[in-house]
């Protein structure tokens, strides 16, 4: 195309125009300006032997190809209890996906594939969940009602998740503010996706049905760091019970974000809390950008109801573009269409997220809704132009394309998916005139997101007719309340009071080490030293050594008690730690042998210092008191460690060489 329009410059210009600020430079004023608002849904697997509604073992996983059988299902939308169809439900149905479940006999039974009704709820799981409900200061319900929450993406073979509210209206205390909690529910975990290609999506059922809780906050967080802080807090709180699972995928969060004038968008399955700040920052600016783009479009288009796409099937003999994806489409007998978007010039390359233009939102939807694999389109505003002059003249034969004002998309796909694809393109473009679409988005480590599906509403809830309500008596709740751990904010205050360095708190809370430190201190350990041993030394050991199977943190407490009993001094514990971590079965005396520790009395050490001191006098070339002290200290230190406090040792050395 001969005009001067450069899509990438337009991307940069629109980024500037909407006032995008990178996260590193953003201040609270920036977030206030765009109305940053965010809430969390924190999921946490519970540590139980069995699954929630059947008697399969929980926590046994298998590889993608280790399965005994496969089952195929299709999901149809049904009415909610209040008599309405849900938006997502209808969208998912449009996609007409064939869902395949892979079943391994070790960890799934006929319940998982919905061929057996639920058994009674796992009371072990319910009690753990209730403990966390009380700990999070929720109002506990009087009776638990199992509800079905529809998921038509196939992630649960029944088409719904069994879930129940245990408490509403709780709160957590962050450093500078209180964050309100909406509710806590207990639910069954979903399948893990293996692949999703075209009209076939494959899941495995190992994780399906494992007990999970979800803590939902109000959208009280006003900047990305606060979201992370709240998320960490909830995760630490869950872990403080010692009754939840840890490790990959055991805790996952969905983050809801909106900007001023925007829409609640849910970023799903964020695997690491470290990703949260970048993700929420970018999502808020994405919405902000979509709204400015909307203003621009409304300036250009007066009658938005009348706006529609114009499209034409391209004759493959005429359309000779040799872009690899187009060649692939031709080889597979796909249809290729050109779509004219009137007045959309500069919109497809409008800033959306860092290194992402608006056009991607259309491409994402073609993949998810019309099931056309990516790359599924090219367009007139790509960073590197793919459409040639020849292509434009072919397109212009069929469409009233005005290169001063319009934009072109060329997409392809199997004939059966074309109608849905055209509808999808038009739908997304028309939404650009209205608002930020209500949707869930999938997150990536680089802080960007892509469209996942339309955000489901409350319309997808339905009572579970297979279950009876479960009353929660006062006695039971009171009993559970007796054994709950201290609040995280109390624990933080205690760490400070103990003089434990602040840089250990995150690690100590994430591993739930508070109870062990407390126990060590109660046995007589120095609070600060105990904190450092767990917060610094243990962290180092975890990163550098392999943990033995039988190792528990309680073993470290035993080690500390052993040292206290024998009046061994720090940093002997630090030296023993790698051994204890790798060989927890070994008795502590043997550990001391391994690290070459020998017992010396104070007198032994003093005589050794004297011997060393005279040795230095013979050998030294520059014999100053400082050199002498340093040299003797260097020699005596390995022998003295554990036997004597090191500052005391230093004064011993200094005194003896005077």
């Amino acid at each position: 195309m001969k005009n001067q329009f450069d899509p990438y410059s337009n991307y940069l210009a629109t980024m500037k125009k909407i006032g995008y600020v990178p996260r590193k430079e953003a201040t609270q004023d920036d977030y206030n300006r765009i109305g940053f608002m965010s809430g969390l849904e924190v999921h946490q697997q519970l540590l139980t032997k069995k699954k929630l509604f059947c008697h399969c073992p929980a926590g046994i996983f298998h590889g993608d190809d280790e399965y005994d059988a496969e089952v195929i299902r299709h999901m149809r939308p049904t009415l909610s209890e209040l008599g309405e169809y849900d938006g997502t439900a209808l969208m998912e149905f449009k996609t007409k996906k064939e869902i395949v479940y892979r079943i391994n006999n070790e960890n799934a039974c006929t319940y998982e594939v919905d061929d057996t009704p639920p058994f009674l709820i796992n009371r072990e799981a319910l009690d753990i969940a209730l403990e966390i409900t009380i700990l999070s200061k929720f109002n506990v319900v009087g009776e638990v009602h199992i509800t079905r929450k529809q998921y038509l993406d196939g992630s649960i073979p029944t088409g719904f998740q069994r879930t129940a509210i245990l408490g509403v209206e709780g709160e957590i205390q962050l450093k500078n503010k209180v964050v309100r909690l909406i509710q806590l529910s207990i639910e069954e975990d979903s399948c893990r996706e293996i692949s999703d290609i075209g009209h076939r999506r494959i899941y495995k059922t190992d994780r399906l049905g494992m007990p999970l809780i979800e803590t939902v906050t109000y959208p009280d967080m006003v900047n990305p760091d606060e979201v992370k802080e709240a998320c960490d807090y909830i995760r630490f709180l869950n872990r403080s019970t010692g009754k939840v699972r840890t490790g990959m995928g055991a805790g996952r969060e969905d983050v809801n974000v909106s900007c001023k004038g925007g829409t609640r968008v849910e970023i799903k399955g964020v695997a690491h809390t470290n990703w949260i700040p970048e993700l929420t920052h970018n999502e808020c600016y994405r919405q902000w950008s979509l709204l400015r783009m909307k203003d621009e479009l409304l300036n250009r288009v007066k009658d938005i109801d009348a706006w529609k796409i114009e499209y034409a099937y391209l004759d493959l003999n005429e359309f000779t573009n040799n872009y690899p994806a187009i060649k692939y489409a031709k080889d597979n007998g796909y249809k290729i269409l050109a779509v004219n978007l009137k007045d959309f010039k500069g919109i497809l390359s409008w800033f959306n997220q860092p290194d992402i233009m608006f056009a991607q939102e259309i491409s994402d939807r073609l993949k998810v809704i019309a099931c056309i694999e990516k790359p599924n389109m090219i367009h007139s505003e790509m960073k590197e132009q793919v459409l040639t002059e020849a292509d434009y003249s072919v397109i212009k034969k069929h469409l009233s394309f005005n290169d001063e004002k319009d934009a072109i998309i060329v997409f392809w796909g199997p004939e059966a998916d074309i109608a849905c694809a055209l509808e999808t393109i038009e739908e997304r473009c028309k939404m650009a005139f209205q608002c930020v679409p209500n949707e869930t988005r999938k997150s990536f480590e680089n802080g960007t997101t892509i469209f996942e599906r339309v955000l489901p509403g409350a319309d997808r809830m339905y009572p579970d007719t297979d279950s009876m309500p479960i009353p929660l008596t006062k006695e039971h709740i009171d009993n559970l309340g007796k054994n709950i751990p201290d609040d995280i904010s109390d624990r933080l205050a205690q760490f400070i009071a103990w003089g434990i360095p602040e840089d250990t708190y995150h690690y100590l809370l994430s591993k739930n080490l508070f109870p062990y430190i407390k126990q060590a201190i109660e046995s007589g350990a120095d609070p600060k030293k105990a904190g450092v041993l767990f917060g610094h030394n243990l962290k180092f050991v975890e990163g550098h050594y392999n943990q033995a199977k039988g190792f528990t943190y309680a073993r470290i407490v035993e080690m500390i008690q052993f040292c206290l009993k024998n009046n061994f001094q720090s940093p002997l514990g630090e030296m023993m730690l790698p051994e204890v971590y790798q060989y927890p079965e070994k008795d502590f005396e043997s550990v001391l042998k391994t690290i070459n520790f020998k017992k010396y009395s104070k007198e032994d050490l003093i005589s050794k210092i004297k011997v060393l001191s005279s040795e230095f006098d013979k050998e030294a070339r520059v014999n100053t008191p400082k050199n002498k002290t340093d040299w003797v200290m260097g020699k005596i230190r390995p022998l003295a460690i554990g036997n004597i406090n090191l500052s005391e040792l230093k004064s011993l050395v200094e005194n003896s060489i005077k």
């Binding site: 299709h74 029944t158 809830m461």
Partner: protein
Amino acid sequence: MENTDFFQGYKGRSLDVLKKFNVRVWGQAEMNTTRGEFKGTILPRSSNDDDEHIVMKVITGYNIGIDINTIIDMKEVGYKKANYAIPEKQFPYTEGLPHVKLFGTGGTIASRLDYRTGAVIPAFSPGELYGAVPELADICNLDTEKIFAVFSENMGPQQYIELAKAIGREIENGIDGIVIGHGTDTLHHTGAVLTFMCQNLPVPVVLVGSQRSSDRPSSDAALNLQHAMKTAGTSDIAEVLVCMFGPTSDEYGLLHKGTRVRKMHSSYRSTFRTIGDTPVAMVTTKGVTPIKKDYNKRRNDRNVIIKPYFSDKVTMVYYYTGMKPDVIDAIVDAGYKGIIIVGTGLGHVNKEIYPAIRRAHAAGVHMYMTLQTIWGYVQMYVYDTGRDMMAMGIIPAGNMLPEVGYIKLSWALGQTDDPEEVKKLMLTPINDEITEREPYNGYLVYQGGVPEVEDFIRKVRK
């Protein structure tokens, strides 16, 4: 509206609490309790549940229960009644598609929520069905009639007779095929009874149900309905058929003869199996593929013969070791005229009950032997005990399924008391309730864990 409608399902103490605070079902309520504050819409309560709790739907769509003993205060701040209805859309008429009649009898084939019991109740009109399964309009032109609404286990003689007569009427009126929506528990009983009551059928009569109610996204109802309509409208198998999932996957349905089918699992989708033979055909939304070659073909005449007879003086006795003769005596004393004995192995009961069997025979009770093994033939010549029993008047019923035996004897005794007549009716098959031969692939109960079976299951979905 009556006062009680404001408090659907509530009773006793929970009802008193709602009345005390003037809060109705569907009212938006704010509650102050000893466990904190709760806000939401008051929902009806299942009348089987206790009177200690009030159910509410909170803003996020979940339901919770509130212990009435914790309620300090409560007030209604709004009211919005939910209107639960499947969207009714006019079922479109398409020239050239077959005309199918759907009879409703109850069951979960199409259903919606019943707040009173918390369970599902059937939804049924063509408009509702079209709203839920629009694909049906591509298969046939549909007309529906709700004959009665009972749960499958409540089907009985009166319903059988009504249904048979309705089928006769509809065939005479020129319908291309009939589908009967039915609860699955006794689907095979109805399959047998209709085979005996509706003879010389010119069109298919297809019984269909669902193992998962249609209020679930993964329900088998929609696909079963499509399969049944396709069969009724287009197949040339003019028999009473049961149409249900072949495998548990959403792949194809199987058409079973009403006389040879049995529900074999309490909850699996693929619960119905043809016993001692192969199914008649496979069905997908694209069409019917026969498995058997010899079946009754569709005809253009309307010469159906309806024989709506049923005696309620027939019972079944499932033999167990240690059974005492007084069980049989009690049945005879209660006036029963026919007993289907479900015997062990090849058709045995212990000697201890022989005297009772003699007395029953002397009292003119018709007794037929069927099998607990489900598969195989009664063979009473192999052991002396079998011969003894035949001498006492027990007649072997071949490989007739026990439930089918019960249905057939009821039907026979509805027509005659004469032992020879009854015997002739019982042992002359109408549609394979007794077969002359059992094909090798008529008994396939594979055992999991065996390598070749595991291999098969992994490669071919069952």
